[in-house]
Every structure is written in structure tokens, then in C-alpha cells.
């Protein structure tokens, strides 16, 4: 029985990506919860729902899920910038590319817009906030403005 549970566990874990979560299925949210060591709460809204994770650091991460079960947006408010590789998954490479192409330091917020990815990092020492979303994954009749 123990072995079977182990096999089941491996199968379950194998079914979700190693990294959460933007653009992935809702099940990947639990990986972010694990990484943030946080408590999670799910709230239903008109046309979507969001998971809110609150970490011991005071970091708050919200992950917005469409009726199709995909994470279409992420938002954070945190004393430090959370692990964006973890939260953005494959989309983090677009932020990396934009950061590398910046030749001149500006000392302020960082906005990235590509054909199907929108990202904003804002705030300052001990109070950072930001959001990211995938326009093509937005549920019908839901504005990107809900991701906050």
C-alpha cells in the first residue's frame, strides 16, 4: 500500500511542471505555496477565481485562474521581489531578455510588453509590488485590471 501511494505521489507530481505557474494549470499553484511556505486561500469572482498565498515574510502572491483551469495572471506585494522564475515559469525568459537588453540603469519600475505577455515590477526597498498576465489566456469578459 505504501509503495502504491508512493507511485501515485510520483505520478501526481510528475503531472505538473517543475515550476509554476503563469500559463500552466491550476494544480501548479501548490508549488508556489510550497516555495513561499505560505498559507493559501481561494476566492471566487465573476468569471475567474484567485488563489492568495501569504508567506511568513509578509509576501502576498495572488494567482488568477480562468474557468478553463489555467493561470492567466499573477500579482505580488512583498518586502522583497519574489522568485519570478518560479512564478512566471517559461515566461520569465522574456523578462530576462528585456532586463539584459537594458543598457542604461534607470533606477525605477520595470515594464515589459511583448506580443502575448505583460509584466510590471514596481516599488522600492522593503515594498515591492508587481503583476504579470497573458492576454490570450484572459477569460471572456474579464479585464486584465483584475490582476493586482
Amino acid at each position: 500500500m505504501k509503495t502504491m501511494l508512493g507511485v501515485l505521489l510520483i505520478l501526481t507530481l510528475g503531472a505538473v511542471p517543475a515550476r509554476a505557474v503563469l500559463g500552466e494549470y491550476e494544480s501548479s499553484v501548490s508549488l508556489d505555496q510550497e516555495y513561499l511556505r505560505g498559507e493559501i486561500r481561494v476566492t471566487a469572482a465573476q468569471g475567474y477565481k484567485f488563489h492568495q498565498i501569504i508567506a511568513p515574510s509578509g509576501a502576498i502572491v495572488r494567482e488568477y485562474v480562468s474557468p478553463e483551469g489555467k493561470v492567466f495572471g499573477i500579482a505580488w506585494q512583498s518586502p522583497f521581489i519574489p522568485n519570478l522564475q518560479q512564478l512566471l515559469g517559461s515566461y520569465s525568459t522574456q523578462v530576462q531578455q528585456a532586463a539584459q537588453s537594458r543598457t542604461r540603469r534607470r533606477g525605477g519600475p520595470f515594464v515589459v510588453r511583448t506580443s502575448d505577455f505583460v509584466f510590471a515590477s514596481g516599488g522600492h526597498m522593503r515594498s515591492f509590488h508587481g503583476s504579470a498576465y497573458v492576454p490570450s489566456l484572459l477569460p471572456k469578459n474579464v479585464s486584465a485590471e483584475v490582476v493586482r
Binding site: A99, A120, G122, S127, H129, V146
Partner: protein
């Protein structure tokens, strides 16, 4: 870069030059109807300049000179010019390349040298050891304070849990990347982390120790963290005043002003007619534009442009060639209202000019260079960078310190 031994004579000369610059600055005019720059001199006055920085690769960088000495020493010292004055952070961080002949003692936590990683909002970062130094600014001294040394070849690799992107964020470990020889953080915070970093269980990736080369988050007492050095001065320790002359809408090559220590502690740093805007627990206040409140707004001398909402909200004024910078066809005028948590409310007027034209002008001090802060109303706010400071006296009150007129500002405040 210049290095010299500390001496009273050289300090005197420095102050004389500062006083002279103050007089020049006061003649800079007060365009835009803003507060004129006062004539100031004294042991609490450091000269600042807004220009293109030591590598001539910056716009609207504000720099001063800092002298650091081994604790208690008057001879084992180095003067570091071109240190960025940053009201958006707290703590002194210097490139170790700017201190080649100065050896400073480390700060140890549980017997291991303390290291720090600081990540900035644009995902750039600074990594290096924490050392102890006496910090001299104008005639003021903070004794035996933790400062951070930024090494181009650090003893330990930067911990991956500090880097949000893994790779990609700029490592600000050279004068070229930083656009400065260091950062002097003189913001609202008395320390850069505070109580959150006392316990490693809070999982804040800022302070680390690396026993056996394995860097882990370290429980770090507040006294070992980087302080805002101003907060540790014997006097004039409740904040700073940054006073810069105004510049034309076409910009100026440089703008010279002063960084004055203390608020309401001497005749040259009185609040006068300035209004206090207390900040919230996130060190932010609310800026309202077109009836919409943006509650995460702040003032930051380390931001070299005015970050104002987003292009779509303002009518699609993005530059075609520089992402995130505004390029309106003709200069636009705006009025916003700032509201502090103490209830003070007041209007701020500013202009936004064509960024392409400003960049190609060859000037380096602009009061009308702007760009985007977010991607829509939900992520937008206002980061009042250097353009806001030009032509104003701006006070930065440190949290927990005396407020001159008794206003309620437990998290610190701005006054202008």
C-alpha cells in the same frame, strides 16, 4: 576617483567650495514657479550635482562625495566621489574598487562574515560583504556603522534565492553598471531591512552568512544591518533636505545643489512653508490624477526619470525607439494631487517633454523626462524621480525620529 588622507585642512577647503557652490546654486533661478533654492552653508551641508555620472553614461544621476575611515581612524580613510544619493533606499554601499587601499573590519554574525544581497525594482542587484566604517558626510560623522562593499569578484557566489530571475538582472558590481561609485541610501527607513531580518525563519533573502562556502539566510540583529547613516549622526539625524535649482525644459548639462542634514535642527534646514506628507507602512503616499487615486506613489532621488502611470492611460505617448520612455509630439503639462497619511493634500505641476529630443540634446539634468510605471490603472503609480527634485527643496523624514512641527508621521514623511 581621488583618495586622500583625512585632514581638517582639506575638509575646510571642501566646505569653502561647497559654500561657493551654494551661492552659485541660489542664482540658478526658480523657474516653473517652484520653491527657490536657498543659500546654505555649514557643517551639515554636502554638495550634490546632477549630471551624467562618472562614466558619462547616466541621465539625472545625483551624486555626492563620501569619506569612509576604518573605525576610530583619522588617517586610514578614503574619499569616494560620485556616490549616488538615493532616497529610495537606506544604507551606504560602495564599490570595493573605489576603496583599493582601505581595509575595513567585517561584521560577523555567529562568527561568520555577514554578506548582503539587495535586489532593486528593475531586477538589478548588489552582492557583497558587510563591513564596519566611520562615515563622514560634510562635517557629520556616523561612527562604526555597517556598510556594504560591492566586489567585482566576490568571495562567495551570489545566492540564487536572492535573484528573482535567476540570471538576467544586472549585477551592479562596476562603475559602468552602477553609473556611480556607490549608493548613499538616505530614505525613510532607519535600516534597510529591520525586524524582518532578525529571524532567518522569515525567509528574507537579504542577509547571508557562508560557512564552508554555503550561503544561507542569516538571522541578523538590527544593529548589524545597514543603517541610513544619517540616523546615526550625533546631531542633525532626523532626515535630510535635498535642494536643487530648477533647469530649463530643454535640460541642463549639470545642476548643482546641496544635501543638507537634519530637518528643523539648524537655520539652514527649517521646514519653512514646506508641507509634511506622511507615508504609510510601505513608505508610500497617494497621488491622484484625473480623479483616480494611485496609492503606491513615492519620491525617489535614485530614480532618474519621472515614472508616471502608463502610455495608454496618457494617450499613447510612448517613444517608438526607447521602450518605457515618453515622447509626446509637444510638451504636455500635468497637475496631480499628493495626499499623505496625515491628511495633508497638495497639487504638483510638471511637464513631460519628448524623450528622444531630451536624450539627443546632450544635456544630463532634466525636469521633464518621463516614462511608464505600470501597464494599466491596477499596476500604475507615480515615482517622483529626479525631475521632481529639480527646482525644489525636498525633505526626507526618517521613521521614528523627531518631526519638527509635531505632525503624525510614524513611518517617516516627505516635505516640500
Amino acid at each position: 576617483m581621488t583618495f586622500k588622507n583625512s585632514s581638517k585642512a582639506s575638509l575646510g577647503r571642501f566646505l569653502a567650495v561647497v559654500a561657493g557652490l551654494m551661492v552659485l546654486a541660489s542664482c540658478g533661478g526658480s523657474g516653473n514657479g517652484l520653491v527657490p533654492t536657498p543659500v546654505t552653508s555649514g557643517s551639515n551641508v554636502a554638495s550634490v550635482v546632477v549630471d551624467s555620472g562618472p562614466e558619462n553614461n547616466f541621465i539625472n544621476g545625483i551624486y555626492t562625495s563620501v569619506e569612509v575611515c576604518a573605525p576610530g581612524s583619522t588617517s586610514n580613510c578614503a574619499t569616494v566621489p560620485n556616490v549616488l544619493v538615493d532616497t529610495g533606499s537606506s544604507g551606504l554601499r560602495l564599490l570595493s574598487a573605489a576603496l583599493p587601499s582601505l581595509s575595513l573590519p567585517s561584521i560577523n554574525v555567529s562568527g561568520n562574515p555577514l554578506q548582503e544581497c539587495i535586489q532593486f525594482v528593475d531586477l538589478s542587484y548588489i552582492w557583497g560583504p558587510v563591513a564596519q566604517a566611520d562615515v563622514h558626510l560634510a562635517g557629520e560623522t556616523a561612527s562604526s556603522v555597517p556598510i556594504q562593499l560591492i566586489s567585482a569578484s566576490p568571495e562567495y557566489a551570489v545566492p540564487t534565492n536572492c535573484l528573482s530571475l535567476g540570471t538576467g538582472g544586472a549585477d551592479l558590481n562596476s562603475v559602468q553598471a552602477l553609473g556611480a561609485n556607490g549608493i548613499l541610501g538616505v530614505g525613510n527607513l532607519p535600516q534597510d531591512c529591520g525586524s524582518l531580518c532578525i529571524s532567518a525563519a522569515n525567509n528574507i533573502p537579504a542577509y547571508f552568512t557562508c560557512p564552508n562556502g554555503d550561503c544561507q539566510i542569516a538571522s541578523t540583529p538590527v544593529a548589524d544591518q545597514l543603517p541610513n547613516p544619517v540616523a546615526l549622526f550625533a546631531t542633525d539625524n532626523n532626515g535630510v533636505l535635498i535642494s536643487l535649482p530648477s533647469v530649463p525644459l530643454t535640460g541642463a548639462a549639470t545642476a548643482t545643489g546641496s544635501l543638507i542634514f537634519g530637518i528643523g535642527t539648524q537655520s539652514n534646514n527649517a521646514l519653512g512653508s514646506a508641507q509634511i506628507y506622511a507615508v504609510d507602512a510601505n513608505d508610500d503616499f497617494t497621488t491622484t490624477y484625473n480623479g483616480v487615486p494611485y496609492s503606491s506613489s513615492y519620491i525617489d532621488s535614485g530614480s532618474n526619470i519621472l515614472y508616471f502611470l502608463d502610455s495608454a492611460t496618457l494617450g499613447n505617448i510612448d517613444c517608438l525607439d526607447i521602450q518605457g520612455i515618453y515622447c509626446p509630439n509637444s510638451t504636455l503639462n500635468f497637475t496631480v494631487t499628493n495626499t499623505g497619511t496625515n491628511g495633508t493634500s497638495g497639487q504638483v505641476n510638471f511637464s513631460i517633454a519628448n524623450g528622444d529630443n531630451l536624450y539627443s540634446s546632450g544635456n544630463a539634468a532634466f525636469n521633464d523626462l518621463a516614462g511608464d510605471s505600470g501597464t494599466g490603472v491596477s499596476s500604475d503609480y507615480v515615482d517622483f524621480g529626479i525631475p521632481f527634485f529639480l527646482g525644489r527643496n525636498v525633505f526626507v523624514g526618517i521613521a521614528g525620529k523627531t518631526v519638527p512641527n509635531g505632525a503624525s508621521a510614524p513611518n517617516g514623511y516627505w516635505a516640500y
